[in-house]
């Protein structure tokens, strides 16, 4: 496990935090803590209150969703540099999937309520951070649409 300072440095080198003003990076660092998870460890569960927003620095987090009688599907993996727990920033603050570390994970995390309070109070932080969160969510939405097309299926999905 690297120390907090070096992890923050790594965070600042990811697309998510790179290029933010130093003051905002510092503010983020003050709000952050380091987090590690062992393979198989559950980070949060679908439907539960979403308490943590995180950026994966190392390892892989699977986002899973359960279909009754079919079991769990991994719908996405969160890779280094990418975020998880965006629902901690968006009402109703409920996790939309279950997150499981499938490799040893190192992450920088932010407590949802504290981060939300900081974003309310610090307009500059909000102005810098929300677009990045939006980019992360939009990228994920876009990918989900492509996955929905099921392009690699043998038969084309019928269109109208």
């Amino acid at each position: 496990m690297q120390d907090q300072a070096s992890l923050v440095a790594v965070l600042n080198s990811t697309w998510f935090a790179s290029g933010l003003e130093p003051g905002i990076q510092t503010h983020l660092a003050e709000l952050s803590r380091t987090f590690t998870a062992e393979p198989g460890q559950e980070l949060f569960r679908e439907g539960d209150e979403s308490l943590v927003f995180g950026v994966v620095i190392k390892g892989r987090v699977a986002l899973r969703t359960r279909v009754p009688e079919r079991g769990d599907f991994t719908i996405l993996t969160v890779e280094p540099g990418d975020v998880y727990g965006w629902s901690a920033l968006v009402p109703p603050y409920r996790s939309t999937s279950t997150a499981v570390a499938i490799e040893a994970v190192e992450a920088i995390t932010f407590e949802g309520p504290a981060l939300r309070a900081a974003l309310r109070e610090d307009a500059a932080l909000a102005q810098a951070l929300y677009p990045r969160v939006l980019v992360a969510v939009a990228r994920r939405l876009n990918a989900t649409r492509v996955q929905l097309l099921d392009l690699f299926a043998a038969e084309q999905v019928r269109t109208w």
């Binding site: 699977a62 599907f73 996405l76 993996t77 097309l149 392009l151 690699f152 043998a154």
Partner: protein, 664 residues
């Protein structure tokens, strides 16, 4: 592209009943005859530590018993252990010194008040004999003939000078380390473009005439018939020179290979050594670029316009008012090399290089053009574009029969068939090509060849419809009909020396699998190779054993992703473009090969463009309804292309705005 080398504007072939022998002691007779005919004799002689061409009158002035040692940036004379008169290779002088002098007055002009006059200078060149011209040098004269007097507009000065020359060729009986005439197809054998040719033996010379003028001289020489041993000895010596030189710059496809590498990083690297002195162009026997300078008297009333040799390495050569188009040394080096070895063909129908090696020897920093060519445009064992094998059973009414030798279930619906006994043409196909595969009662299907074997091919087929399901159900020993290999191939030659990114999804890996085999077989030719492969689920990944091997053993950076992950999958889940859309690498030196559903290709090429991979370097393979496979049935038309015949591999730039457009 195979373009014959034109060796001589005269085109005369030797007309002789067999070689004659001239004793060494009688060589002076030849000198005297040529001089009696009013010719100034130009030939080899030692001066300033090298063997140059200059005016000579006597055999005594020839470099008797002197040889040379040449290497990049190095030239040394050495004493031979015999008294041969032509026991060396070409020196710093090229014959263009006389046919195309370094300074030629063009025009005399006057200004008298408002009146001006321009009077052309008339060349009155001497009648010359060139003694000791080598095969490469005669080829060089043929090339300058083509450039300067072979088209609509001619250089009158060159024409007059050239017409006044009698050529006594000398067959090369030794070579330098810098020679590569064999690769350029110009030597070492002198076969045309001469009046007389000499092959030196210890006691004298084999003499042959190449023209009526040469025969007229030959008939005045004190000759005897050459013995069979002398003839054999002469031929064997020249053959030994050919063998010694070898083939240092395989020229097959060089034109296309070189022009495909305009962005190669080596241009910048060689430019760090090149001091743009222009020695190579001055020493080159075919470089013909000139400038005109004005010399006036002090009043400006009289002026002479002089044409002087110039060099594309000169800083001002490509200068206009706004600056130079080739300001950087790398631009000038690239201009020179690509002109000599590629665009010269387009302009003049020949190579601009004869392989004499002067540019190598006389480069003060020892840049070896052969090394640069082989690094920038490496020879290919099979030049893909130009050497697509002739397909068998090309027309839709015929098939060759192949037998299933093995089957392998890749996934629940996809099978790889090993087919042997079809025709050797299939084994010689090229990555990206396809075969038309037929079973009686089913429509023949275009299937990408997924592996080339010594005695057959593999086809990977997904059972999606009745015909593909029937093919997937074949057993060992069953037969199928084949036509092919058809279509074009992945431009792997463009990827030599570059980084390669291969992006594919689902069954799209099948046509790219032979690319990976070709890369692995010749791994050092390529830079970083990344394979990004997406599938529906982990169970749908093809060639799983090979994927692991490519990553672990073969130096390929293999990244996999699936659209949905099951309990057995701890790899990445997500779309294939997310494997690199946030990467930090620079794609400006990359070639991309992409195959998959068209929607995926579009997303991938957009993402690659964002990484700096230009559209001309993104190659994709398209799928269209094909029935004939040879551009006759019209089904697979896409814009101006038939995908079967013009493709299936295209660059995004080639496809232009037809790609991704709905309903094309």
């Amino acid at each position: 592209m195979v373009i014959p080398v034109s060796r001589s504007f005269r085109g005369n072939r030797p007309e002789t009943e067999g070689p004659a022998f001239l004793a060494r002691a009688d060589l002076q007779v030849l000198f005297d005859i040529l001089r009696e005919d009013g010719r100034r004799l130009i030939g080899p002689t030692v001066a300033d530590g090298s063997i140059i061409y200059d005016d000579i009158t006597s055999v005594d002035e020839l470099p008797s018993g002197i040889g040379d040692e040449q290497a990049p940036g190095s030239y040394r004379l050495r004493r031979r252990d015999d008294e041969r008169l032509f026991g060396y290779v070409v020196g710093p002088t090229a014959w263009k010194k006389w046919t195309f002098p370094a300074l030629v007055p063009l025009t005399r002009a006057t200004r008298d008040g408002h009146l001006v006059t321009f009077a052309p200078e008339q060349a009155a060149p001497p009648t010359l004999a060139f003694l000791g011209a080598r095969a490469c040098e005669i080829a060089a004269l043929g090339i300058t003939d083509r450039v300067l007097i072979g088209a609509e507009f001619i250089d009158p000065d060159y024409m007059v000078r050239r017409a006044n020359v009698f050529i006594v060729a000398v067959q090369c009986t030794t070579s330098a380390s810098t020679c590569f005439c064999t690769s350029m197809g110009t030597g070492p054998e002198v076969s045309e473009g001469f009046d007389l040719s000499l092959t030196e033996l210890d006691a004298g010379f084999l003499v042959e005439a190449g023209t009526p003028a040469g025969r007229a001289v030959l008939e005045r020489l004190p000759l005897r018939a050459a013995s069979a041993a002398e003839q054999y000895g002469a031929a064997a010596t020249v053959a030994a020179v050919r063998a010694k030189i070898g083939d240092p710059v395989p020229a097959d496809g060089l034109h296309d290979r070189l022009l495909a590498q305009l962005d190669h990083p080596r241009w910048a690297q060689v430019a760090e050594r090149c001091i743009t002195c222009g020695n190579c162009t001055l020493a080159c026997p075919t470089c013909f670029c000139t400038s005109v300078t004005q010399a006036t008297d002090l009043t400006g009333a009289k002026a002479v316009a002089n044409r002087t040799w110039d060099s594309c390495f000169s800083p001002g050569f490509a200068k206009v008012a706004g600056g130079s188009f080739r300001a950087r040394p790398r631009d000038r080096y690239r201009q020179w090399l690509t002109h000599k070895f590629a665009t010269w063909w387009d302009q003049f129908g020949t190579s601009g290089c004869v392989g004499c090696g002067r540019c190598i020897t006389w480069c003060p920093v020892g840049i070896d053009v052969r090394e640069e060519l082989n690094a920038i445009a490496p020879p290919v064992a099979r030049s893909p574009e130009s050497h697509l094998v002739e397909p068998v059973a090309a027309t839709p009414n015929e098939f060759v029969i192949a037998r299933v030798a093995a089957t392998k279930a890749e996934t629940s619906d996809t099978t790889t068939l090993t087919l042997i006994g079809g025709d050797p043409a299939f084994s010689r196909g090229s990555p990206g090509q396809f075969a038309m595969v037929a079973l009686p009662g089913f429509p023949p299907l275009p299937i990408s060849i997924s592996r080339f074997l010594a005695d057959g091919i593999e086809l990977t087929i997904r059972g999606a419809g009745p015909a593909t399901k029937a093919l997937c159900g074949l057993q060992v020993g069953d037969q199928v009909g084949l036509r092919g290999p058809l279509g074009n191939n992945w431009p792997l030659d463009r990827a030599f020396g570059r980084d390669l990114i291969i992006v594919t999804g689902g069954i799209g890996l099948a046509p790219l699998r032979p690319v990976l085999h070709a890369i692995i077989a010749d791994r050092r030719r390529f830079g970083d190779v990344k394979l990004f492969y997406g599938a529906r689920t982990s169970a749908d990944l093809l060639y799983r054993d090979e994927l692991e091997q490519w990553g672990k053993r073969d130096g390929i950076d293999v990244r996999l992703t699936v659209d949905r992950g099951g309990p057995d999958w701890s790899g990445r889940v997500g779309i294939v473009t997310h494997l690199f859309d946030q990467a930090t690498w620079d794609g400006s030196n990359m070639i991309a090969l992409v195959c998959g559903p068209e929607r995926m290709i579009q997303a991938t090429s957009t993402t690659l463009a964002g990484r700096g991979v230009s559209e001309s370097r993104i190659h994709v393979t398209l799928e269209r309804h094909m029935e004939c496979g040879i551009g006759l049935c019209g089904h697979c038309q896409m814009g101006k292309y038939f995908v079967c015949r013009d493709g299936p591999v295209f660059s995004i730039a080639q496809l232009g705005d037809t790609f991704g457009r709905e309903g094309i």
